[in-house]
Amino acid sequence: MSVAMVGSGGAGVLTTGSMLLEAACAAGWNGLLTRSVGPQIRGGEAAALLRLATRSVECLADHVDLLVGIDWVSAQRFESEIALAPGGLIISDPGAGAPPAALTPAGARIIDLPLAQLTKTNPGWRANMIALGAAARLLGLDEEVLQQVIKQHFAAKGQDVVGANADAVAAGGCAVATAPSEFRLARPQKTITKRWLITGNEAAGLGALRGGVRFAAAYPITPATEILEWLAPNLAKVGGTLVQAEDELASINMIVGASYGGVPSLTATSGPGLSLMIEALGLATAAEVPIVVVDVMRGGPSTGIPTKSEQTDLNIAVYGLHGEAPHLVIAPQSVTDCLLATQWATFLAEMLQTPAIVLSDQSLGQTQAAVSRPPDVAFIGLRLRATDVAAPYKRYALGGSGVSPMAIPGTRGGQYTADGLTHTERGIPTGSARDHGAQLDKRRDKIERYAYGDLWATLEGEGEVAVLTWGSLTGVAREAISLARAEGHNVRLIAPRLLLPTRPTEMVAALAGVSRVLVVEQSHSAQFHRYLRAHYTLPEDTLVLHRPGPLPIRPSEIYRQLTRGKNL
C-alpha cells in the first residue's frame, strides 16, 4: 500500500508523512517514507512518499494507491514521480481547486475534504493534521495508535496544542468515514523482533560511533547534514567531539589532523563537498592516515539537484584522486546497511591506514524506514600502533602485509613527519624512483591483499540470469527478482558493497554459470556499467537499465527488462 502526500514547502507534508509512518509501524506494519522536495525551504513543493506493508519493504512501489493533497499549488511538478494506481483515491480540498490533471489518471476517485473551511472555523487546527486523520482512516489505521503518536509529538508544546491536533486528526477521520476504502491495510503480522524507525543518515551516524569514530568535522550540505546533526550531540555523549569547519577543505583536513593524533575520524558530505575534499583524500592515502568520508550522493554535476538522489559520484569516488591512490570505496545497500557500511568502512580504514569513502545517496540517507534491529557486528577499528619504538623508527616500513605500525604523537622515539611528498620508509621526502615504487607497492598491496570476506557483495539466488547493481538500487532489484521468482524464474542478485579495491576473483565466482546480465543503475552515462567493464568480464549478453536521477527506477521496470523477449 502506497501513499503520497503533497503540498507546498512548509505545509507540514514531511512531518505528516513521518507521523503516519510512525503510527503504522507502532500498529505493527512495516514501511518506509522517502521525501521529494524542491530547493526552497518555504513555498516550494514537498512530497512524502510512503509505502506500508505487512512484510519488510526496501523501496517505493510502482504506483500510489492514495494521494493526499494538502494543497495543489506546485503539485504538478511531481508529475513524473507520482503515478496513481488504477482506481486510486485522491483526497482533495474542493476549495483548493481540482488536482492537477497530470496526477489524475482516468478512473481516479476523488474524495472531498474541506481543509480550508475546517481550519478557518476551528482555530488551532492545521490542514496537514486533518489530512493525516483522513488518510489514516482510509487505510484502516487504529485511531488510538495515531492519537498516541500525536500526543507524543506535541507533548512539549502543551496540552492545548495536543488537544487541537488530536481534534483535527479526529475530524479528518470523521470527514471520510463514509468514503470507499478497499485500500485498507492488511492486518499486520505479529512481530517478535525489536524494530527501529531510522533514516539512512542516522544509521550512518550510529555506524560511525559503533566503528569507533570519536571526532567529526562538519560542513553542512544537503542531503548529508543529518548525519552530522545526529553525531553532534551523540559524539559528545560518548566522549568525542564534533567541530563545525569553515568549509569542506577545512573539515577533511581537520579529520586528517585528528586521526594523525590517534582518534578515528569522519566527515560527511555530498558531491560538491567531495570534489573539494579530493586533494586531502590523496594526502591521507600517501601519508597513510585513516579517515572516513560519507558521501550522500545527489544529482550532479555542480549544484545539480541537491534534494534528490543519483548514483553519479561513483567515478569521482573511485577514480577522482590524482596519482596512484589506492583507497576504499564502500556502498551501503539499504537504510539499515548505512549502519553496517559506515561501521565497516571505519573498521577497514583503521585496519588498513587509508581513507574510506562511503557512497550513500539521498534516497537511502533521507528515507525513514521500519527495520529489524541491525545485529551487533564486531567491527571496531584497531589501528596498528608503534608503541615500543626502536630507533630509527620507520613509519613507512616495507614488508609484511604492507600495514606498518603508526606512532601516535606523544610516543617517545616515534617522531616522524607524515608527508604527502613521496617519502622513504622513515618518512623523509625523496624523488627516488626506487622509493616511489616501493611505497606505491606497499600502499597497493596492503589494500589488495586484505581478506574482506563475504561482505564484499550481496549474492543471492541462482540461475543463468543475474541483475548486477549497487547501492540504493539493490533493494529495488531484489523486489523485481522476487516478482520473477514468483513466476518460477531463477534470477541472481549480485551487488558489490566493496567498490574499491575491486575483487576480480570473487566476481568470477559470483558470475559462474551466468549467461545473461542486466546492469541497473541511476546514472545518465552508466558509470557503474563502465566501471564493471573496466574491472570485470561480463557475458556478451549484457543489458543496461540506467537513467539519471531524480526519477527512481521502479521494480516493475527491472522486472520488464528481465522478462522482455527472452525465456528466463
Binding site: 571526532f215 566522549g239 583536513n253 581537520m254 585528528a258
Partner: protein, 277 residues
Amino acid sequence: MSATAPLACKPGDYKSETKPIWCPGCGDYHVLMALTRALAALGLPPEQFAIVSGIGCSSRIPAYTTCYGFHGVHGRSLPVAAGLKIVRPDLTVIVASGDGDGYSIGGNHFMHACRRNVDLTYLVMDNHIYGMTKGQPSPTTEPDFDTALTPGGTGVRPFNPLVVALASGANFVARAYAGNIHETANIIVEAVRHPGFSFIEILSPCVTYRPDQRAWKDRVHAAPVTATDDAARAARRLMTDDGFNLGVLYRGNRRPFQPVVAAVPCDLVEFEKGFEI
C-alpha cells in the same frame, strides 16, 4: 624571563639530521634556529610537540626538527592543526606557514583559526614572494614588484595579515624578524605559553628572489610602544606603522576553544532507544 637561559634541554636536541632544501642565506634557517631554541626553552621532550605545515619553502620546517611533524597539502595546515589539538590537548601544536600558503590559498582558514581560537601557535615566514615556484607575487608582495607572471607588478594592494588577525579574533599577535634569532625565540616561547590562537608574522628574507630584502636587517626596529590588550588600538598602530615594528603587539584574554568531552562515555546501546518502535 629570558627564553634562552638556563636551558634544561639543548636546541640541538630538537634539530634533525635532515638537510634543509633552502637556499644559502634563506631567512628560514634563522627561523629554524629560533624555533629549536624556543622548543628547548619550553623544556618539553620532542615527542610532546607537533609541528604542522602546508606547502612552500617554509612548510618544510617540520622534518628539520626532531618533533612529530605533519607536512600536508597547500594552504591547509591550520585545519590539520586544529583537528589534532582538539583531540589531543596534551600536545603542544605549532603551525608553520608562509605568505603564499597562509595568506593566499589558506587565507580562509587563517580568519577562521583566529576566530576559533584553538590553542595553537602560528608562525608565518613572510618573504613577500612564492619562492618554491621561483618568484611569483604573494598577497604581501608590493604592487609594483615585477615578476614573470605579473610583468610590471600586480597593481594589487598587499594584505595586512596582522590587522586581519586582530579583526578576526587572534589572541596574541606579534611581528618578528628571522635574523633576530634570540628575540624571535623569546616571542615563540611567549606565544606558545599564551592561551588560544597566537600569531607571529616572521619577516624572513628570500635572498634568491628578493635580494632587496637583505636590507630588512637595517629597517627592522623594536616597536616604540608596549603590547596592548586593546585589539582596536593594536590594529590602529599596525595600520599606520612602517611594517617593520617588531615585538609582541597584542595580548588578548579570550578563552581558548576546547570542547568539553564527556568524562564518562555513555553506552552506545543508549542511542538505540531513540529508534525503537
